[in-house]
């Protein structure tokens, strides 16, 4: 099967790749662009470890085909920090020990950032339901929820 040429933007950089029409965006990010921050936990859109943004919208990159990225803007965990300055969520996740093994962390950070961009003052329930598509098996979510709530508070106060 012949491959398809795709031009897209990832974390602000113009990139190109050739992909099989069956390959997912997640496969392309990881295997063709060496952006291995997004993880495959299930391949069926149930765990959220592969969360990225596609033109600003939160998606599971395992449910998007690589060819669908043509002309789009992709955001991954690798683009969250500004140079060597961590995003407040990233710093808070370290401060709160909001991760144990860390495999779900990239997806949760991408998802939480998307939440705070559209709702800077979420309730605990809103955070819990927003992150319900991101599975974490280690933490019981307690410290993750606290980290997100506290980041939102800091970011509101900083404005």
């Amino acid at each position: 099967m012949s491959k398809i040429h795709v031009s897209t933007t990832v974390n602000g950089d113009a990139v190109e790749y050739l992909c099989d029409p069956r390959e997912t965006l997640l496969d392309c990010l990881r295997d063709k662009l060496s952006l291995t921050g997004a993880k495959e936990g299930c391949g069926t859109g149930d765990c959220g470890a592969c969360s990225v943004t596609l033109d600003g919208r939160l998606v599971c990159s395992c449910l998007v085909l690589g060819v669908e990225a043509e002309g789009k803007e992709i955001g991954t965990v690798e683009g969250i920090a500004e140079g060597d300055v961590l995003h407040p969520l990233q710093q808070k996740f370290i401060d709160y020990a909001a991760l144990q093994c860390g495999i779900c962390t990239p997806g949760i950070l991408v998802a939480a950032k998307a939440l705070l961009e559209q709702n800077p003052d979420p309730t605990e329930e809103e955070v819990r339901f927003w992150l319900a598509g991101n599975l974490c098996r280690c933490t019981g979510y307690d410290k993750i929820i606290r980290a997100v709530m506290d980041t939102a508070r800091d970011m509101r106060e900083a404005v």
């Binding site: 495959e40 936990g41 470890a49 990233q90 996740f93 599975l135």
Partner: protein, 753 residues
Amino acid sequence: MALDDRKSDGFTFVGTRPNRPDGLDKVTGRARFGADAHAPGMLHGAILRSPHAHARILRIDTSKAEALKDVKAVVTRADFSDKVEFAPGLEGDFWNILENVMAGDKALYDGHAVAAVAATSALAARDALKLIEVDYEVLPHVTDVDKAMLMDAPVIRQGAADYSVPEGMHPNVVRKHESGHGDVEAGFAEADLVIEDHFTTEATHQGYIEPHACLATLGADGKGELWCCTQGHWIVQKTCAALLGIETANLRVTASEIGGGFGGKTTVFIEPVALALSRKANKPVKLVMSRSEVFRATGPTASASMDIRIGMKKDGTLTAAQGTFRLQGGAFPGGPADFTAMCAFAPYNLPHVRQVGYDVMTNRPKQAAYRAPGSPMAAFAVESVIDELCNQLGLDPIEVRPKNASREGTKASYGPRFQRVGLVETLEAAKAHPHYTAPLKPGQGRGISCGFWFNHGGETSVSLALSEDGSAQVMVGTPDIGGSRASMALMAAEVLGIPYENIRVTIADTATLGYNDVSHGSRVTYASGLATIKAARHAVEKLCERAAKKWGIPVDAVKWENGCAVPSGPNAGEFDPLPLADITADMGRTGGPISGHFEATPEGAGVSFATHIVDAEVDPETGKTKVVRYTVVQDAGKAIHPTYVEGQFQGGAAQGIGWALNEEYIYGADGRLQNSVFLDYRIPVASDLPMIDTVIVEVPNPGHPFGVRGVGETSICPPLAAIANAVSAAAGARMRQLPMSPPRILAALKADG
């Protein structure tokens, strides 16, 4: 955060909460997990799996797959070292593991590997699997533990039972455990109330978010490199070397960052297959499981069928206890029948106790360890009966438990006498916690349970090397599964007296450190921690020797204080404190590099107890249960990094909630797993859970220099029972089956009312 302020315990670093050393890697996507590795010229592997629960493999024709241009190797069982013309047959555990990673003459469960392919791309490998033809003779199967013990059940494998199984039992019963003391019938005669009941739990998966993944290279020279996500790379090294018929030292295994394990990554599944493919293709091979493969072919925990009988006096005194535990461990021996039986009554001081466990084979994947294997199921059954005894005798369950609790000197139900243990302290803390007396709303119920786990020491090696600038590198061999680098650095800092930030902890590969047992048994902070402390003390001895030499005084006149060598007393002479960095700056000229080592098998792991309090709310119309409040109280011995200790408590509780309410392996009449994706095997999500409150109790373990007890596993022992007791109270009906799914709760409500 009160622990932070309490530095009156004599510790400087231990008990503080610094950021983990690998935090930046983990929040930026830079950390390299199993599937994140690449190698030049790398091929991609894929595995063909049996669609049958039990079938004889009559023929495997791989010729069409091998004819594909992109396919570089196809492997079946004929390529492994049990091939008689190349190596003598494997025996015992190694043979069982080989049978599990690649089926021999029979496929024993849905998902059992039968062939593997390496191709130039992952898609090509998957396409090639479709061209492999396998002829099966489908055989009768059994997946239920009680049915597998019936005399007419299909036999999984003749001759798998060992000496412990009495004559007359079905060949699927492969191990029997029996222990206890006293005369249980005499004990029951003393009781005012005896309750006997039957309980079952379903198999649940560890549910780590990272599927198994590896990158293997094995050349014609018999030398190999293996990168994989594992809880213990030395066991991977030893096992793979045996299965591939090469010398252990010729296979170097590097542990990647690991995306969860919970016991499920303590053995091998795909690693030997990837090595065999690599050897055949003469190229590196990457092999990554899909989620469905993880569910179908890696270890869930055992399911259980249990009978419990307990006697109690009117004042709450337990007089006797008896339990029979049947553990379904899949198509191989190894179900934790012994642990289940031994843990069941461990929290209680019982004059008369007897427990029997049976390890039973079925046509399911080989069970693997899951966080305190066996103990949560046993606690569910035992603590449910104790709760019912309290209900019927009108007693407060939190008053009854301390009255009967195991304490220092108690003869444990499984044999030994306990050393200093903290069960009573957890019960007292639970009783004093505001949760226990908070009012409940209509439709809610409260449950408590105790839980017990042995904890483990295990073979351990640590090396600690000092640098010229006074910083230290610590090489440990236990993969960091939840922040253990931070704990190691804190313990090293405590002994050396240098800043936490100046210590780098690395998970060494198998070629650069001595043997290490797996990250299991809640052993890492205990055993690698003890080893780190002793390695640091070993380095400190050498630092003191250098100072003694410089000052011209005997070494026993030098002591180590706050990161400096100082004279041990006024008679030793007057010298200014000599900081560590001043000694290391000159070490090349004063005797050479300074390192510390520890290689041994620590034996003082120190058992651990917990008490959990749960409030559950049951919707009588739908049968849906919501956990509305949860408190974990557990003895940590000494919390090295309290935040990560809390994390272990919370994680165990959350997994327990999933196990109690929702998670189960569901098999169809055809013996196939019906729910092999996360959509259908639903683990708790953020919106299912409340905040999980924690109380760290510290009753020091006499077997560790700083008092550490393992904390990882005990946290999953009480939840099943605590939640069952809460749900039973809320529903007004005793729940005897897990998971307490809405249909089961509705059925219980209907039967009751």
